[in-house]
């Protein structure tokens, strides 16, 4: 069984922890409990007859006072950037983190999740700005709350990592 490390990156309160909880434990909570430090979650996946053991790193989100500890990124096979559709600034954060990681680790597989699709009517990230995102970066609208596209998010990244896509 191959083991792959992936990281979830993005501003605070965009739903990184919730996406992981939905994917790993199939649960969701509306209560906001900020993540302190790092938590590693594990989940087995089967991609094209290959079993992979995903080590999912949930990193404390970025805010005005906290930066990502880049040591934590070492050894990642891929990463998921997360933005919150209802907060336009979080897309800028996700894209600048993307650039920072590319400079650090080179071109490894990445997927951008625009989360909170269950309240898309309250989104402030416009279709135009989504359209402006570099076409090399796959964008997936997710909802940790409803579970929409969460499975797809992780499998898309995993497929990119094992090279079946």
């Amino acid at each position: 069984m191959i083991q792959k490390k992936i990281c979830l990156l993005g501003a605070f309160s965009v739903g990184k922890t919730s996406l992981i909880k939905r994917f790993v434990e199939s649960i969701f909570s509306d209560k906001y409990l900020t993540t302190i430090g790092v938590k590693i979650n594990k989940k087995k996946l089967s991609i094209a007859d290959q079993d992979i053991n995903l080590m999912i790193w949930d990193l404390e989100g970025e805010d005005d006072y906290t930066e990502i500890n880049t040591n934590y990124l070492r050894g990642s096979a891929g990463y998921i950037l997360v933005a919150d559709g209802t907060r336009a600034k979080t897309l800028d954060s996700a894209l600048s983190i993307h650039k920072m990681v590319q400079d650090l680790l080179g071109d490894i597989p990445a997927v951008l999740a625009i989360n909170k699709a269950d309240i898309e009517d309250q989104w402030l990230i416009s279709p135009a700005s989504i359209n402006d995102i570099d076409k090399n970066l796959t964008v997936i609208k997710t909802s940790a709350k409803s579970g929409d596209n969460v499975e797809e998010l992780f499998t898309t990244l995993s497929q990119n990592m094992v090279g079946t896509k």
Partner: protein, 347 residues
């Protein structure tokens, strides 16, 4: 310090202390703290652990720790906080520290649960505050926009009411502002000034309030004396709007005062020449002429755009600023769009 004192200290601090050998085995140097047994139930002093038995986060940290030990530098390297779930399902917040003590490579693991609560609460509060701040900023922006739009609407309606005895319509007044703002944008004016001229330009004829009906609404040609009185509207407007200390009204005052000056110095009230005439007034002179030409007036039919531009081209010799007219021509598509989109909204 004797070994037992050290051990007591470690246990007081609730540390698990591992000594790391080159062959990747680690030895537990102290009697491990009770919480450590949630992870390794059968562990005790001098027990040996394999690196693979460590939590994933620590295995990852060992790489950094190794670097730290090899550099033989004094001081400690901290792993940062991480959350580990024990086999029994409980979650623990901890941190590891790598230190070198007389060539002994030590890994200290401590629980930060004691201040975890307060640290967590502090972070939580701070982030909730940040979220609220974000929401407020957005709301302020939205409201400011709303107020600005309301102000514009009120201003346009007041100005139209003021010049109602004249033939000018609300749509004309609105267009003058939009054309002028488009010109200012093209000229690279700062956004706040662009916003100012958008509202200031429509006020250029406000001084007509002070002109008697019999002159303002006289159907035929004005006599020389009547024209002298009529000309006074620019000075009256300029004075009405002057002295407020509000940048929008200052611009409006300048425009009202000077919008009948001509490039060759033959205009009024002061006979200013060329660039002596404030740029805002030169802009309004151009767009006012354009709008009058392409629309119907009691004394004339509407001209086609090409006819209007040909006439203005002539005027650019003596009346209008030729450089600004060139700018006007370069954005004629946008000007036309404003014209087409702002018809029939007569108030």
């Amino acid at each position: 310090m004797s070994a037992t004192t050290l051990e007591k200290l470690y246990s007081e601090l609730d540390f698990a202390v591992l000594s790391v050998c080159k062959n990747e085995l680690m030895t537990c140097l102290t009697e491990p703290p009770s919480w450590f047994k949630h992870f390794y139930p059968s562990i005790n002093k001098n027990h040996q652990l394999n690196q693979e038995e460590l939590p994933g986060f620590l295995q990852h940290f060992m790489f950094d720790a190794e670097n730290h030990w090899q550099r033989k530098q004094p001081g400690q390297l901290k792993s940062g906080l991480w959350v580990e779930e024990a086999p029994d399902g409980t979650e623990w917040l901890m941190e590891a520290t790598a230190v070198l003590v007389e060539d002994d490579r030590l890994l200290l693991i401590n629980l930060t649960d004691k201040d975890h609560g307060t640290h967590q609460k502090k972070q939580q509060l701070m982030r909730e505050n940040l979220l609220t701040k974000e929401k407020l900023e957005l709301e302020v922006h939205r409201r400011t926009q709303q107020i600005r739009e309301r102000e514009e609407e009120i201003a346009i309606r007041l100005i139209s009411a003021a010049v109602q005895r004249d033939e000018e319509t609300g749509a004309h007044i609105r267009r003058i502002g939009l054309y002028s703002a488009e010109m200012a944008k093209e000229l690279g004016w700062p956004m706040s000034h662009v916003d100012d001229i958008k509202l200031a330009a429509p006020m250029h004829d406000i001084g007509k309030i002070g002109i008697p009906d019999k002159i303002l609404q006289k159907p035929g040609r004005l006599t020389e004396d009547e024209f002298a009185i009529m000309k006074d509207h620019s000075r009256i407007g300029g004075e009405m709007l002057a002295g407020s200390g509000i940048s929008l009204l200052n611009t409006a005052s300048i425009i009202a005062n000077y919008h009948h000056e001509k490039w060759d110095g033959s205009g009024y009230p002061d006979g200013l020449k060329g660039k002596e005439i404030p740029e805002a007034a030169r802009i309004v002179a151009i767009v006012d002429v354009y709008d009058a030409l392409v629309h119907e007036r009691v004394y004339k039919k509407a001209f086609s755009e090409s006819k209007a531009l040909a006439i203005m081209d002539e005027m650019a010799q003596d009346h209008l600023d030729p450089d600004l007219f060139a700018v006007f021509l370069s954005i004629i598509d946008r000007i036309r769009e404003i014209k087409d989109r702002n018809q029939d909204e007569e108030i």
